[in-house]
């Protein structure tokens, strides 16, 4: 190894604490990226495996649209399409089950919701490998039998020979358990709440026409290809609405939630990378500035610029290798901890955090490249040191107001490099998946663009923070000075020294200030966005379901059930709602059928365009619809426009009577509101949910009384707020995850401050020696450093709160969900102020101790 390169490594050993801090910063960044990619890979792998198990050997799945079915003609058209090797038709519907006592009497014990899968056993076996753990597999002739999935069967104490009763449109049907399937393959669907019956039994149970099916699994001739068959099916299936999906589509749909998380993780990782790159760049810049005389000596002794460059780059490389190694270990631990969080959000099972080779390669590349790129600027400057200038001691001294821009640009260069590696790596990892889908929503190009925008936005923030740092630090100093006014006699000197130190060279501290502002700002912004969305969700539910209870059915129940609920003592009104799928302009949407009078009396819906009274009157009269703002925006609808709704059973053209702020949340977004009479013309009947309003002063026993009635029909009683709570719960988990990662940026920022303070004390040893000589006590030296850190912490956290609130306002304002108003998230703002102040004071303790223990004689001798 060349001598300057050896020197680079020795420098690391000479300043062990600073090296350790920078290594820690790199390690946190690498760990975060490695954990994010590993968890994402685990989620994608889980989704792919889950989809593959569910789909078996099918290449395509054709599903009937909404509550409609596919006719025998459609099934025949599918089977006879060129390239189709085989089909497996299914009836697949959700219903309720009850246990049946051995004597044959239907018990009152509800087994809850269950998905009934009616199959042609012979055809199904060509698509799926079933593993029977007890009893026998289903046969085509077994009309009165049912095969259950093992987890659900054992959870309810059901075994071969047990009997269960299922409710369907054709009445109740009691079936005997013939066999139990292992929890694998298709039996994993719906959490194993599955009952396999023959397709004939299923049609009878749900009163479906002969030959009707809900789902058709399709095997495709590889020589023809899935895409070609898809195209042919689209031309041949024109008489009935349907949905067509491939296994890859199913995997993509299953991993949708975790993919959004993955995207969020990577964007947060990009910000953390930026803060980390800033730390590395700043640490190396300080290191080079400190060694300017040494560099000059090397240059005067014959070292070339290239050798000096090598010295700095090797120093960076040494830290990069150590940081990357530590980061991989830390990342593996983080990934293990993150898996349960992601699993709680994902639709598909996520287990373990495999050592994903792609994630490992990307993390190692990042860990090595980012510090090296961040070192290029300091290396270049070191190479430019003229020996004479450096020996005069004037070279590379920090210049007031000159450091932040340079550090930000160098940090940005390293960050953009890192982000590029991150995105390309993630895209390549995604491309290697069977689905060919990138693991980031919107594809690699979109996310790359988003990451670059984020990096540039952060760069802009850092530059702004750096520019305003002197003024903000002055103000913060004045504020701390005012706060300490009663202690002026005892703290006056320390305050003057702390404020003087900050004013003398704001560039030195502005990097730490900017890093703190960005890191904590991210935490505040995420909290603000989460809070805004949470409140919007709660307001939404309160607007569309203004009731004390919601009695929810998993599949439509007769309207007459409402009478039983209304008869419960303490109930004032019962309002039925019926949610269903529709197609608007060929695109899937949601609708809800209501009794206009009853729904209006509840006070539901906020009309934002049109008259409320006129709107409900039009709804009552029929031929009209109330359209949520999001749907109006999506389809370009205005009051008075004609709206075409299509279901499997019919098509209606309705007039938009009003635009409302929100609609009931449905499977495909907010629901268009129609009257029950119009819905019945679309072939929609029954009720999905009853909104129950209690009489004033109703007893607390009302909930139990409602539950008693609801249990009879396998309905569930919930508080409307809990519907919002389910949404906000998922939101909280998601943002909690992102918050946890944003904390990494704060940790790096705090490390950066520690680094700056240590460097500051070391650079000012002579000055401190002088101050001690002329009468500064150890305690005063200690307090001066702590006060300086406190001022920076206060200024950084105040700036973070401003940045965070502005950022959250911008995100909520630009978001697709209109009408979300930001309320200042006081708790996170308070927390950010506390973290900034306490964190800064805590990290200053060690540098302050060093300052207090400066050996006067040695300091003066050394200088």
């Amino acid at each position: 190894m060349h001598a300057p390169a050896r020197l680079g490594l020795r420098i690391l050993r000479r300043r062990p604490l600073r090296s350790a801090l920078t290594i820690a910063g790199i390690a946190i960044g690498v760990a975060l990226v490695f954990a994010a990619l590993s968890v994402d890979a685990a989620a994608q792998s889980g989704a792919r495996g889950y989809a593959a198990q569910l789909d078996g050997r099918s290449d395509l799945v054709v599903r009937a649209f909404g509550e409609g079915t596919l006719s025998p003609q459609s099934l025949s058209a599918i089977s006879s399409t060129t390239g189709v090797l085989g089909t497996s038709p299914q009836v697949r519907r959700t219903t309720f089950a009850w246990s049946v006592a051995p004597g044959g009497i239907v018990a009152t014990r509800s087994l809850g919701a269950l998905t009934v899968v009616g199959v042609d056993p012979e055809a199904d076996r060509a698509f799926h490998d079933e593993s029977v753990v007890a009893g026998a597999a289903l046969t085509a002739a077994d009309d009165g039998g049912v095969v259950l999935a093992e987890p659900w069967a054992s959870a309810h104490g059901l075994a071969v020979g047990s009997r269960i009763s299922l409710m369907g449109g054709g009445g109740e049907r009691t079936l005997a358990v013939r066999g139990v399937l292992a929890a694998s393959g298709p039996a994993l669907a719906d959490g194993g709440r599955l009952a396999y019956v023959t397709i004939t039994t299923a049609r009878a149970l749900f009163a479906l026409p002969t030959g009707a099916v809900d789902v058709v699994e399709v095997r495709v001739d590889p020589a023809v290809g899935v895409a070609a068959v898809e195209t042919r099916l689209e031309t041949r299936l024109s008489s009935e609405p349907y949905l067509l999906s491939t296994t890859a589509d199913d995997a993509a749909a299953l991993s949708g939630a975790s993919r959004d998380i993955g995207s969020g993780l990577l964007l947060v990782a990009a910000v953390v990378l930026f803060v980390g790159a800033l730390l590395v760049s700043d640490a190396l810049a300080m290191s080079v500035a400190e060694r300017s005389r040494e560099v000059a000596l090397l240059r005067s002794a014959g070292a070339t610029r290239g050798q000096v460059h090598a010295m700095v780059v090797v120093e960076a490389l040494g830290m990069a290798v150590a940081g990357t190694a530590a980061g991989i270990v830390l990342g593996a631990v983080m990934a293990t901890a993150l898996v349960p969080l992601v699993a709680s959000i994902s639709d598909a099972p996520v287990s373990g955090a495999p050592l994903d080779p792609g994630a490992l390669v990307v993390a190692v590349l990042l860990g090595v490249l980012v510090p090296v790129v961040a070192a290029l600027g300091p290396a270049w400057r070191a190479g430019r040191v003229a020996p004479v200038e450096a020996l005069r001691g004037s070279a590379l001294r920090p210049r007031p107001n000159g450091g932040i821009g340079r550090s930000a640009v160098e940090g940005a260069a390293a960050s953009v490099t890192g982000t590029t590696v991150l995105i390309l790596g993630a895209a390549l990892t995604g491309a290697s998946s069977p689905s060919g889908a990138a693991p980031i929503a919107g594809g690699p190009a979109a996310t790359f663009l988003a990451a670059v925008v984020v990096a540039l936005a952060v760069l802009l923030l850092v530059l702004i923070a750096g520019l305003v740092a002197p003024a903000v630090l002055r103000v913060a100093g004045a504020v701390v000075g005012l706060a300490a006014l009663p202690l002026r006699r005892s703290l006056g000197a320390e305050m003057r020294l702390a404020r003087g130190s900050l004013a003398h060279d704001p560039a030195r501290i502005s990097v730490a200030f900017a890093a703190l502002a960005v890191g904590l700002g991210l935490v505040v912004a995420l909290a603000g966005i989460a809070d805004g969305m949470r409140r919007a969700g709660e307001a939404w539910i309160a607007d569309v379901a203004p009731a004390d209870y919601a009695v929810v059915a998993i599949s439509p129940v007769p309207d007459s059930f409402g009478a039983d609920l209304a008869a419960v003592s303490g109930v004032s009104t019962v309002t039925p709602l019926r949610l269903f799928d529709v197609a608007i302009a060929g695109r899937r949407a949601s609708a809800v059928a209501v009794d206009p009078g009853a729904y209006a009396r509840l006070g539901a819906l906020t009309v934002v365009d049109g008259s409320r009274d006129a709107a409900f009157a039009a709804l009552q009269a029929g031929g009209a619809a109330l359209v949520p703002r999001s749907v109006a925006d999506r389809f370009g609808l205005r009051v008075g426009d004609s709206l075409g709704l299509r279901t499997a059973s019919g098509e209606e053209s309705l007039r938009v009577a009003a635009v409302v702020a929100h609609g009931v949340p449905g499977a495909a977004g907010e629901s268009v509101v129609v009257s029950q009479s119009d819905a019945s013309r679309l072939g929609i009947s029954g009720v999905s949910m009853f909104l129950v309003v209690a009489k004033p002063g109703a007893s607390s026993a009302l909930s139990a009384a409602l539950s008693d009635v609801a249990d009879r029909y396998a309905l569930s009683v919930v508080r409307p707020s809990s519907i919002g709570g389910a949404v906000t719960g998922a939101l909280d988990r998601t943002f909690g995850l992102l918050d946890a990662l944003a904390v990494a940026a704060v940790i790096i920022a705090v490390l950066s401050m520690l680094d700056v303070l240590l460097m500051d004390v070391r650079q000012r040893v002579g000055e401190l020696g002088l101050l001690r000589a002329v009468g500064l006590t150890r305690a005063q030296a200690w307090r001066a450093v702590v006060l300086e850190a406190a001022i920076v912490g206060l200024a950084g956290s105040v700036a973070a709160c401003v940045l965070g609130v502005l950022g959250a306002t911008a995100v909520l304002g630009l978001g697709t969900t209109a009408g979300i108003q930001l309320a200042v998230p006081w708790a996170p703002v308070g927390l950010a102020l506390l973290i900034g102040l306490v964190g800064a004071v805590l990290v200053s303790v060690y540098p302050a101790r060093l300052a207090a223990r400066v050996d006067i004689a040695r300091a003066l001798r050394a200088e």
């Binding site: 006056g492 003057r496 000055e767 002088l770 002329v774 006590t777 305690a779 004689a857």
Partner: protein, 250 residues
């Protein structure tokens, strides 16, 4: 009259990677109030170490320093710091000033560190008086970086005398200055001694600087080898001192 400063059998040993180095080997001396004493000697003779022990910046390995009747060596760090603040003034060769403070603030530093308000009453008068003595009243608000090297050292002298210390220690105060600026600085030191009775202990290797003193203690190998009495004079010719030093082999 009681001496303002007394050193009794001082020794100082430093530990290095290769063993111990004896910087001082039993030095004793006294300094009378109002006296100007120079410590001279070749590099490594121990003169700066001795000054640091006399000024309470460091502790001797053995022996005792008594400053204005107070035994310095037995004081804890806080008391020693207060003693330095109240009884001593220092002028160093380099890093004389705190760069983030103005000339006036640097002069007022000992008052500020003592918790006093240097902008009020007696303290302000003392600061102004010290700045006038070194002819820098007009540049009081300038930062050190805005002053010439000689002016910076004059600010350091003003700071050292502003608190009216019992004794002023100066360690090679002209070492970084050209000949004429160095002489100027020595004149200011001499003025404070002659006009105000300021006691001064000066460390120097320059005979021209040593000639400003009333008495010279010559050190070699950590011991006082010779004491040379010069006496108070208006002129400060270096020749007699140089001749005495030549006899010592310097």
């Amino acid at each position: 009259m009681r001496p303002i400063l007394e050193a009794r059998d001082l020794t100082k040993t430093y530990r290095t990677g290769e063993g111990e180095v004896e910087a001082l080997r039993g030095v004793s001396l006294t300094v009378e109030p109002g006296e100007f004493v120079a410590l001279m000697g070749p590099s490594g003779s121990g003169k700066t170490t001795l000054l640091q022990l006399l000024g309470g910046l460091d502790r001797p390995s053995s022996g005792e320093v008594v400053l204005d009747g107070i035994p310095v060596s037995s004081l804890d760090d806080d008391r020693a710091t207060r003693l330095r603040r109240e009884k001593t003034g220092f002028v160093f060769q380099a890093f004389n000033l705190v760069p983030l403070l103005s000339a006036r603030e640097n002069v007022a530093l000992p008052f500020l560190l003592a918790g006093a308000d240097p902008a009020s009453g007696e303290f302000r008068d003392r600061v102004d008086d010290a700045l006038r003595l070194v002819d820098l009243a007009a540049k009081a608000e300038r930062r050190p970086s805005q002053l010439a090297f000689g002016e910076q050292q004059r600010v350091a002298i003003a700071r050292a005398i502003a608190g009216r210390p019992a004794i002023l220690f100066a360690d090679e105060p002209t070492g970084n200055l050209d000949y004429s600026t160095g002489l100027e600085i020595l004149q200011y030191l001499y003025r404070s001694c002659a006009e105000r009775g300021q006691t001064i202990v000066l460390v120097t290797h320059d005979a021209q600087a040593g000639a400003f003193a009333d008495r010279v203690l010559f050190l070699r190998d950590g011991r006082v080898l010779e004491e040379i009495g010069i006496g108070r004079r208006v002129e400060h010719p270096a020749r007699p001192l140089i001749e005495r030093l030549a006899l010592l082999g310097e």
